[in-house]
Symmetry: C2
Subunit: 214 residues, 2 copies
Amino acid sequence: MKIGIIGTGNIGGALARLWMAHGHEVVLGVRDEQKVEAVRGAFPGASVVLTEDATEGVEVVTLALPWPAVEPVLARMGPLAGKVLIDTNNPLKADLSGLKELGGRSAAEVIQQLHPEARVVKAFNTVGAAYLGHARVGDADAGGFYCGDDDGAKAVVAELVGQTGLVPVDCGPLRNARYLEAMAMLWINMAFGHRRGERFAFALLSDAASRANN
Amino acid sequence: MKIGIIGTGNIGGALARLWMAHGHEVVLGVRDEQKVEAVRGAFPGASVVLTEDATEGVEVVTLALPWPAVEPVLARMGPLAGKVLIDTNNPLKADLSGLKELGGRSAAEVIQQLHPEARVVKAFNTVGAAYLGHARVGDADAGGFYCGDDDGAKAVVAELVGQTGLVPVDCGPLRNARYLEAMAMLWINMAFGHRRGERFAFALLSDAASRANN
């Protein structure tokens, strides 16, 4: 699969390496020409282009940017019609004291409303980057919670989640992204506000006879 | 310890039995005299009294009621000064489509504001009653997430959480109850809205060298 990733920080960078290791073709979008060479050096095997060109020919676009960057970046990206758009954001207040008020909506729903032609799936927002590719935590594997309204897009994302080692957990419609963003905010508050550190992760345990995932 | 429990449904009833099994003295508060005998029969060993008398001499009061019942019940309860008040509620909309809008606050914070003399701790709201006393789920134990502003009260609740088999997870200040209520709403939506069933639970996995809990 050809996957565009906008943002090469902790989450975007880890996803790029893991997905390349699974044989995907990764296109990294960067802000300006000056960054291209450095990013190319850091991600051998990936294509590095300007953000506005990073959606060309890709089936999946992953947004791994801080929330304030999302709207301006989306505004200058190429066509998203029919593409799977993975939103990894948490719309944090600048002081990390909580989530921004988005009229009761999640960041994912805001993005879907801005781009109704894209197939938005929320994923990778509730887990520390350290667990991507290293999902075993104590006695179980960290959960890869995701949600969305397009079943086909969700199936694609479930596979990509699994390739990071996380256990894919279908959390229902995109509307439920508001709850996933709340879980992430709890994680952030526990990790940084209360100095627990980053070595913990949410999981969904299931002992249902069937449908352990999905 | 002497513990009052208001509400003898799935959660209140399970907590009553588990805490009695751990040697605590349990006082169950019921709405009217007509219910006393039936509840006494169902909970051998527990005292059963009217709700207004259920806080007398107890150190911990547990609210295990549907959200619409909480305010009227609190209004007619005895003094709560200095007592640990465990809030297990989720302020669900009547059609289960989401959480009630409480001015950005959690149910737990609303209760704390109504009764500043009590030491409110949020707990037992994110887990299905079936896992109380049976916390092993697949390869790990379900989490007993709790939060509050009074460290002494939280220590008491952490012990009571552990006695239900759940792994006590300190989730910070009472303000974070808004995130725990969001997690519960996600659970409810996945369980009932999307017919996953009730056989799953959230856990917090940790591989920190120390402070695995708390």
